[in-house]
């Protein structure tokens, strides 16, 4: 019997020997990133730029530094089409792979974030919600695995009011601001902050909702014309953005008096509106352009090596591309931070990455070292502050590109953060969560 199988056994032994020779004795550690994102569907164009930037930076770290202390960045993408059900399906598909090592999940969708917030905490997989998602997760004592990093809708609204106040000579008393918003959870998030700012600064706040998808705003803009506001603060999304700019032109409202949220301030939001967008301003937590040394170097290193993720290289340096790079920078910095605690050259588990995200300290000096000066603000997170910054810049569309017209502006933390804490406390009560004692965390 053995004789009969002898040639096959010999062949198998030789193959195994050859295979063993081909593999290094110790396989390099790999840090896995579950990329739950979208490149097709209604908002596919936004996802292409964001995830293109995100993956380009991971590739950049691999090519430039051979990973983080030798740990190579790996990832797998799953397409959600910006659909909540598909987002959950993607999460379930990738969470097994993320069991051994996991970087933060960036799903770029408030709906998907809400759907995953409890699951990710249960599975100990950290979720970053940079500029979207559940904003009271700033309070890490209740939301240990959710990170609305950099800044939140409420802090952004507060910073926009601060910018307007500066423009109006430091006094908003007696002024009128219209808050024109997408009638959804996203649009409503900032209302509480706008109301608090209105009470504090004694300006009149007029709230005007726009039904989804917002491709028709005739009535709203006629109402704005009738109200004669000093400024319009604008919380749009998708087609609502171009429609608003065109409608503002139609009723003769100056675009220089319109300031949008960061989801209304990409090239994709203004180019379709043509000349109607000229002069319009929007908040952002990352700047556009290739003048940022890191962005220029990514193009040189990653695209030079033929490993670029974008099919359309013209997107390099756009707001959303740079936002994707910023998200990846924070993620990789978290891996670096985690390795300082859990061992250099070792991949981090989701639990370890969570600790790292909660102990980030990205200073100006560090941003300069990686070539990201001014790309995004400094970040310092803690157990009771998963946001870490709260700063935005205001940029203006000059007809061809976004130009920053302010420095980093921080929202009124003393006014806004207590609102998060109150909301998180309520959530903890509803879900029966015992908040962590942040004084004992480090």
């Amino acid at each position: 019997m053995i004789k009969k199988f002898k040639p096959a056994l010999a062949a198998a032994a030789v193959s195994l020997a050859l295979f063993a020779q081909a593999q290094p004795v110790f396989a390099a550690e790999e840090q896995f990133f579950p990329v739950i994102g979208y490149r097709v569907g209604p908002y596919g164009a936004n996802g292409q730029s964001f995830y293109g930037g995100f993956i380009d930076y991971l590739n950049y770290v691999n090519l430039k530094e051979k990973g983080v202390n030798g740990v190579m960045m790996t990832w797998e993408e799953c397409e959600t089409e910006y659909n909540n059900a598909k987002g959950v399906e993607c999460y379930e598909r990738l969470k097994g792979k993320a069991a051994k090592s996991a970087g933060p999940i960036h799903n770029m969708s408030t709906g998907i974030s809400y759907a995953l917030i409890d699951k990710s905490a249960q599975d100990k997989l950290p979720m970053a919600m940079m500029g979207y998602g559940r904003t009271d997760a700033v309070d890490g004592s209740v939301f240990p695995y959710a990170f609305p990093l950099v800044t939140t809708y409420q802090m952004q609204a507060s910073a926009i009011v601060k910018f307007i106040k500066d423009k109006e000579g430091g006094n908003l008393a007696g002024k009128k601001i219209v808050y024109l918003y997408h009638d959804s959870a996203y649009g409503k998030e900032a209302i509480i902050a706008m109301e608090a700012e209105a009470a504090l600064n004694k300006f009149t706040l007029v709230q005007i909702p726009v039904a989804h998808p917002g491709n028709e705003q005739g009535a709203q803009w006629l109402k704005i014309r009738q109200e004669k506001p000093d400024f319009v603060v604008f919380w749009g999304w998708g087609v609502m953005n171009q429609t608003a700019l065109k409608a503002a032109q139609k009723v003769g409202f100056p675009r220089e008096k319109m300031i949008g949220s960061w989801w209304t301030g990409s090239e994709e939001d203004v180019i379709p509106a043509g000349d109607a967008a000229k002069g319009y301003m929007a908040a952002t937590w990352n700047v556009a352009g290739k003048q940022v040394p890191l962005i220029a170097d990514i193009e040189k290193v990653v695209y030079g090596a033929g490993k670029g993720n974008l099919q359309d290289k013209a997107k390099i340096g756009t707001i959303l591309y740079n936002r994707g790079v910023s998200a990846a920078v924070l993620s990789v910095e978290a891996i670096r931070k985690g390795q300082e605690k859990y061992g250099k050259g070792k991949a981090l588990t989701g639990e370890q990455t969570r600790w790292a995200l909660e102990n980030l300290n990205i200073t100006e000096a560090r941003l300069k070292a990686i070539g990201a000066t001014d790309l995004l603000p400094e970040i310092k997170t803690s157990c009771d502050n998963h946001e870490g910054s709260g700063k935005v810049k205001i940029q203006q569309w000059d007809g061809a590109k976004w130009v920053p017209v302010s420095g980093w502006i921080e929202g009124n933390k003393g006014l806004i953060h207590p609102l998060f804490q109150a909301s998180a406390k309520q959530y903890a009560k509803e879900k029966g969560i015992t908040p962590r004692d942040c004084s004992k965390e480090k």
Binding site: V40, G44, N215, A219, L222, Q226, V239, Q242, V251, G252
Partner: protein, 304 residues
């Protein structure tokens, strides 16, 4: 009172834009008895074809001709590969086929022409007419007036086409009964190819007007949502009905958006704005209770 008329006129002009999309639905339904779920996707595809051709270097007039060619070819292909096998099948089978077609177009069109939102310049500025603004303090958009003119021409041509041409009469015969039309020698395949081609043309006009207004992007598929209450109101088989339905829906949703929320807020507190998403459907449903076939729809009588 001035403000009331400003809202009313703005609403009527918006309604014309809805009617442009609704006309495409009417075309297909009138000629084949099929509710074409893919009409919104066709509007998107048509507009994307225009900007896609412009990006490849074609001037606007050539891009429009090329896009019309693409939509016509698409119409013929739809007849050949989707509808031909479904002759004499229940309407629900044809409806399901158009759902599949919608998803197919939504995937295919951006794959060919790219998914980035883009501007479409037709040379008509979307600004208020200054003389009206100065004399009456009312905002009436130049663009919306042009759109109304385009819609008027389109409706006239389509109404004449259905009423007075051989092909138009054949289309109506096919819509009544596929089998009966076939039995008297009406070439069903040609008729369906023609009607899908004409629906493609209507989609092209609607896509260009909506694309120039809000940018060419995936959200053009949502324009279908605005057309549905128009159809319910005006009737699925009436070309003038689409226009009248559009005007009623446009005007009423704008007036409702302005005047209902303050009343609701006084009564119940809170913020009741943003009602124009659902208000037209409620209005259309109320009409359905009174006239199930719509304002201008044909009354359907079955012999028992």
């Amino acid at each position: 009172m001035n403000f009331f008329f400003e809202v009313l006129i703005g609403g009527l002009l918006s309604g014309v834009m809805y009617a442009l999309v609704a006309l495409g639905f009417v075309m297909i339904y009138k000629a084949s008895g099929v509710f074409n779920f893919a009409q919104g996707a066709m509007v998107y595809m048509a507009a994307l074809s225009v900007v896609g051709c412009i990006e490849k270097g074609a001037p606007l007039w050539l891009a429009i001709i090329l896009a019309f060619g693409i939509m016509t070819l698409f119409g013929i292909a739809t007849e050949k590969f989707v509808l031909r096998k479904l002759v004499n099948q229940p309407p629900i089978a044809l409806f399901m086929a158009t759902i599949g077609l919608a998803f197919f177009i939504e995937g295919l069109a951006p794959m060919i022409f790219g998914s980035d939102p883009r501007a479409l310049e037709l040379g008509i500025v979307d600004e208020p007419i200054e003389s009206v603004l100065e004399n009456f303090n009312m905002v009436i958009s130049k663009f919306d007036l042009v759109a109304a003119g385009v819609a008027a021409v389109l409706v006239t041509v389509l109404a004449l086409f259905f009423q007075y041409t051989r092909v138009g009469r054949a289309l109506r015969a096919v819509a009544d009964d596929h089998q009966a039309a076939l039995s008297i020698g009406i070439p069903l395949q040609h008729i369906w190819a023609i009607v899908w081609g004409v629906a493609g043309f209507v989609a092209l006009v609607a896509g260009m007007m909506w694309g120039a207004r809000n940018g060419v992007q995936f959200a053009l598929t949502f324009t279908a949502l605005k057309a549905l209450p128009v159809l319910i109101l005006g009737g699925f088989t009436s070309v003038p009905g689409a226009i009248v339905g559009g005007l009623i829906i446009g005007a009423s949703e704008k007036l409702a958006e302005i005047y209902i929320p303050p009343v609701m807020q006084d009564l119940f507190g809170g913020n009741f704005g943003g009602i124009e998403g659902w208000f037209p459907y409620v209005l259309a449903l109320l009409f359905l209770l009174v006239r199930p076939e719509g304002l201008f729809g044909e009354k359907h009588i079955d012999r028992v």
